[in-house]
């Protein structure tokens, strides 16, 4: 009997290829292609007076140089505003190559295509540009002050103002027995996948066809962008996603200028062209996220129950808004977390600055929302002298409340914000047990006796995952019995080839080894959306399950004919359809694949075997009117709305009394992503997310100076965690509350590890130090400075 694979920690099929150096990443493809290098603006804000490329043409090995003036048709128009929104009244996007003005250091001005990257860079160095400098706007304070404008036709630097509410937050706060207000900030970080961006394109003059390989999170998105911008029919463009060295959000379609310029140049030069960015380019010309200022007003009762909450925040969207308002909308809606608020109002301003654009980074606005809410919960507990977990429990949505609607709020997918399922009290019980919450005070006392400072933090979150609109699955059983599966969304290390093969093996009744999954290839799956918002397992997992069920139904129908049995009496085990209880009466799926395609020659084992079976009624056409040849199943999954995963993280930290260094003593995660497909992959996602969270909370920030220069644009200066910075172990406990919205009960897991980090570390450090932590990330020197401020103020207080 085939063993169930769903829920098993199956080893990944991707690994053999990747550990032997046989992965194929974008830069590995098409050796010998011409290479592109980009001239990027060295200034944060300037008008371009002139560009002189004459000296470039003398550089040996140079094939082409392009500036804005060389762009034609749709390429000469601004890049698309991908996600428009009625509140985005002043959306702006850049040109593929800057026209007249640059708005951040790193903005593309010109590109050179040469024999190789070295020569292309030499040539870029020879381009002369004259600028008229404009005053740069850097940071949220400067954007709000609006003494200078990023775009002269955008008053106040405000791209959008948006407000949502239910109940009457102001009235509820005014009449509440207790009130508090908080001001919080979070700084910018970035995804920083180890592989940067890369695109390769080949124009085939004979087939009149464009092939693009790009390190992307959405092959169909890039395909549409390339076709539109280059004036090609969609059917002329193939986009293939090779192995991708991490994404975390930044590799979603924007589209990058280079993703369009590479195919443009390949077509013009009739030579394959490649662009592989270097690390500095990734820092200054891809995307960042997280920067926000928040002001919170909350009113609550004696049990810490929130009666009304009003949040206003300012979101730094960088120089342009290609990705619309997705990040701040997520912050404003996911802020509510697992809590039942009777009255809520949130408004935000999305502000321009002369810095790199802001688009989703793993968590996508949720970390900031969770930070706002969880810091509020901690503040309420402190105000009332209550246990922090108890305040949270008093506010939880209860298991019987599902489906739970947060008033009339609208989520990022444009659908009502309705949670499908969850069990938050049980999750809190598990979290308290996992971190041994009740024993902490004793531990603190003992540590104190030794002159040590320790603190504990806890933070809850709810994560809308698996947003629509849809994904598809295609399952094809070949005459060899091997099963070829395709889904359109892409893979950046999540092990989709393994997880999806597990689903197919179970649904179809075939051996895991016989299933091969392809993702992100528009030739196989032209209809698809992409990999973001922890949606791959939910969306493609569901679509593939449905497709496999269709293939199974067809196989059983054919087998019933061939074996002269009833469909209900059949089972499929290890790729063989057999009559239950009469195992001799059987037929292989591969043989059925031959029978399903009656017009073909017998050229292999399966087709020879098929000759002993006669299928169908000789008086009818071999392929029935409502049928198709081939043993395939295909389907799409399009959910009514998102499914909501949830979790609680707890951390114990120790802060050095002298150096203010912050050390992690324990990190615990309770996580509910519905039905688990592969727990080992899910745990890997949690590990990686936590490491990014540690980075974001304690180390990583984009250090822009006031002129808009990013001062730490390298791995030497931007402190990404090494093994020495992460917790040695992470204690993980799962809760499985299946989603009622999809066939397998799956919820997403990709972002969970990173969402509550800023909140949970701020809480733990605050607990260790005894003064409020309101700005994240926090470095030892900042903590040290805070200590000095607070010791002076307390000293002054004692003195007065």
């Amino acid at each position: 009997m085939t063993t169930k694979l769903m829920g098993e920690p199956v080893a990944r099929v991707e690994d053999d290829r990747l550990v032997t150096g046989k992965g194929r990443y974008a830069d590995d493809i098409m050796p010998g292609a011409l290479e592109m290098a980009v001239l990027r603006s060295p200034h944060a804000h300037a008008r371009i007076r002139s560009i002189d490329v004459d000296a470039v043409l003398d550089v040996p090995g140079v094939h082409a140089v392009y500036t804005y003036d060389d762009l034609e048709g749709p390429m000469a128009e601004p890049l698309p505003l991908l996600i428009p929104h009625p509140a985005l009244t002043h959306g702006r996007t850049q040109y593929a190559l800057a026209k007249d003005e640059v708005n951040y250091v790193g903005e593309a001005i010109a590109v050179v295509v040469a024999d190789n990257r070295y020569l292309a860079e030499d040539a870029v160095g020879r381009i002369e540009v004259e600028y008229d400098f404009l005053p740069p706007v850097v940071g949220i304070d400067a954007a709000r002050a609006a003494e200078n404008l990023v775009h002269e036709d955008v008053p106040g630097n405000v791209a959008a103002v948006m407000e949502q509410s239910f109940g009457d937050a102001e009235a509820a706060i005014a009449s509440a027995p207790h009130r508090l207000s908080l001001d919080l900030t979070v700084e910018r970080s970035a995804c920083m996948p180890m592989e940067g961006r890369g695109t390769v394109a080949r124009w085939d003059e004979d087939l009149n066809r464009m092939s693009v390989w790009t390190s992307t999170q959405t092959s169909t998105g890039v395909r549409a962008a390339v076709a539109t911008k280059l004036g090609l029919d969609l059917g002329q463009v193939d986009v293939v996603t090779p192995d991708v060295g991490g994404g975390f959000g930044v590799k979603i379609v924007h589209p990058w200028p280079e993703e369009l310029l590479v195919p443009m140049a390949a077509k013009a030069l009739r030579r394959p062209v490649k662009f592989t960015e270097d690390r500095r380019e990734h820092f200054i010309s891809s995307a960042h996220e997280r920067g926000q200022q928040q002001h919170i007003e909350v009113g609550f009762d004696d049990e810490g129950r929130v009666l009304g909450m009003s949040v206003k925040f300012w979101h730094d969207n960088g120089a342009y808004t290609p990705y619309g308002l997705i990040v701040p909308i997520i912050t404003s809606t996911q802020l509510l977390g697992p809590y039942k608020l009777p009255n809520y109002r949130v408004s935000f301003e999305s502000l321009y600055t002369n810095t790199v654009i802001v688009t989703p980074y793993r968590g996508a606005g949720r970390p900031q929302g969770v930070y706002a809410m969880e810091r509020t919960m901690d503040a309420i507990a402190a105000e009332l002298g209550m246990d922090r977990t108890e305040v949270r429990e008093n506010n939880f949505i209860q298991p019987e409340d599902f489906p739970y609607a947060h008033g009339e709020l609208t989520f990022q997918d444009g659908r009502p914000l309705v949670y499908d399922s969850g069990n938050y009290p049980e999750m809190m019980r598990k979290a308290r047990a996992l971190v041994d919450w009740p024993a902490f005070e004793k531990f603190r006392d003992e540590a104190r006796k030794e002159g040590r400072k320790v603190g504990i933090g806890i933070a809850c979150y709810v994560e809308g995952t698996g947003v629509g609109p849809y994904e598809g699955g295609h399952v094809h059983i070949e005459t060899s019995g091997k099963v070829k599966v395709s889904t359109g969304l892409t893979t950046q290390g999540q092990g989709h080839q393994t997880a999806f093969a597990q689903i197919v093996a179970d649904e179809l009744g075939v051996r895991f080894e016989d299933v091969e999954v392809v993702t992100g290839d528009t030739r196989r799956s032209p209809y698809s959306v992409g990999t973001f918002a922890s949606r791959a397992a939910v969306m493609s997992g569901s679509a593939i399950a449905l497709a496999a069920r269709n293939a199974r139904a067809k196989a059983l129908r054919l087998a019933a004919d061939a074996l002269e049995a009833d469909v209900d009496d059949l089972e499929i085990v290890d790729g063989i359809v057999r009559v239950k209880g009469a195992p001799d009466s059987q037929i292989a799926l591969g043989t059925l694949a031959v029978l399903s395609n009656p017009l073909r020659y017998a050229f292999d084992e399966a087709s020879r075997a098929a000759t002993q079976f006669a299928v169908g009624d000789p008086s009818k056409p071999p392929v029935a009117e409502d049928d198709e040849p081939g043993l395939e199943g295909k389907d799409y999954y399009s959910p009514p709305r998102s499914t909501f995963a949830s979790g609680i993280h707890a951390v114990i930290v120790e802060t050095d009394p002298e150096t203010a260094e912050i050390r992690i003593l324990k990190y615990a995660v309770v996580h509910d992503c519905g039905t688990l497909i592969n727990p080992r992959i899910v745990e890997g996602q949690v590990h990686g997310g936590v490491a990014q969270g540690v980075g974001g909370a304690l180390y990583e920030r984009m250090a822009y100076d006031e002129t808009g220069q990013l001062q730490n644009a390298s791995f030497m200066d931007f402190l990404m965690p090494y093994v020495t910075e992460v917790p040695e172990t992470i204690d993980i406990d799962h809760l499985e509350t299946p989603s009622p919205l999809n066939p397998l009960g799956i919820k997403g897991a990709g972002e969970a590890g990173v969402i509550p980090s800023a909140a949970v570390f701020a809480a733990a450090i605050e607990d260790a130090e005894g003064f409020p932590i309101t700005a994240m990330p926090i470095s030892p020197s900042e903590l040290y400075a805070l200590r000095l401020t607070h010791s002076t103020t307390s000293h002054e207080r004692t003195a007065s």
Binding site: E14, D15, D16, R17, L18, V19, T20, G21, G23, R24, Y25, D27, D28, P31, L57, P60, G61, V62, H63, A64, V65, Y66, A114, D115, N116, Y118, L119, C191, P193, M194, E195, G196, D243, G245, G246, F248, D278, R279, Q492, G493, G684, V686, H687, G688, G689, V690, A691, S714, F715, M716, M720, P721, Y722, V723, T724, V726, E728, T729, I730, G753
Partner: protein
């Protein structure tokens, strides 16, 4: 604006000995070893994550010592035995112990950093075949990974040490 693309810069003919095989290539003196391995020899298992010696993705073994191929010119690598991740499999082509350990312990996700870890660990275990968990962490403390959070990479080091001990001497990975 396009130009015909005349011949490029001056090159030297050099010999590189990689994974036991000698290759002759023409490279400009400024060509990085990482680029020569990847683009001239087609050994694309060596990855480039930063090109300034910080991430470790490009780590190869130079006479057995872990070395950042992005910090070395190809022309300067002629005298040495170079080993890349492609040379880490067993002679019969199956996974070497460190590679197997990464698979066993889910020590990789996107796999981009992995070759640099594998080469680093291979050399580390030569020096210290029986590391403690702390020593295992120390061994990989110069390599960046953005996907895994490192916990499973530390496990992979310990597992690789175990697997290596199981292999009779002389059958180890590489040459």
């Amino acid at each position: 604006m396009t130009t015909p693309g005349t011949t490029a810069e001056h090159t030297e003919t050099i010999r590189l000995r990689v994974n036991g095989v000698t290759h002759e290539v023409d490279v400009p003196p400024r060509r990085l070893l990482s680029d020569a391995l990847r683009h001239d020899l087609g050994l694309t298992g060596t990855h480039v994550g930063c090109e300034h010696g910080v991430c470790g993705a490009c780590t190869i073994l130079v006479d057995g010592q872990p070395t950042r191929a992005c910090l070395m010119f190809a022309i300067a690598a002629q005298e040495y035995e170079l080993t890349t991740v492609e040379g880490m499999t067993r002679p019969d082509g199956t996974l070497g112990p460190v590679q197997q350990a990464f698979k066993d312990c889910h020590g990789l996700q996107c796999g981009f950093c992995t070759p640099g870890f594998i080469t680093t660990i291979e050399a580390g275990l030569e020096e210290n075949p029986d590391p403690t968990p702390d020593e295992a962490r120390d061994m990989i403390s110069g390599n960046l990974c953005r996907c895994t959070g490192y916990q499973n990479i530390v496990k992979s080091v310990l597992r690789a040490a175990e697997l290596k001990r199981e292999i009779p001497t002389g059958e180890g990975a590489g040459q």
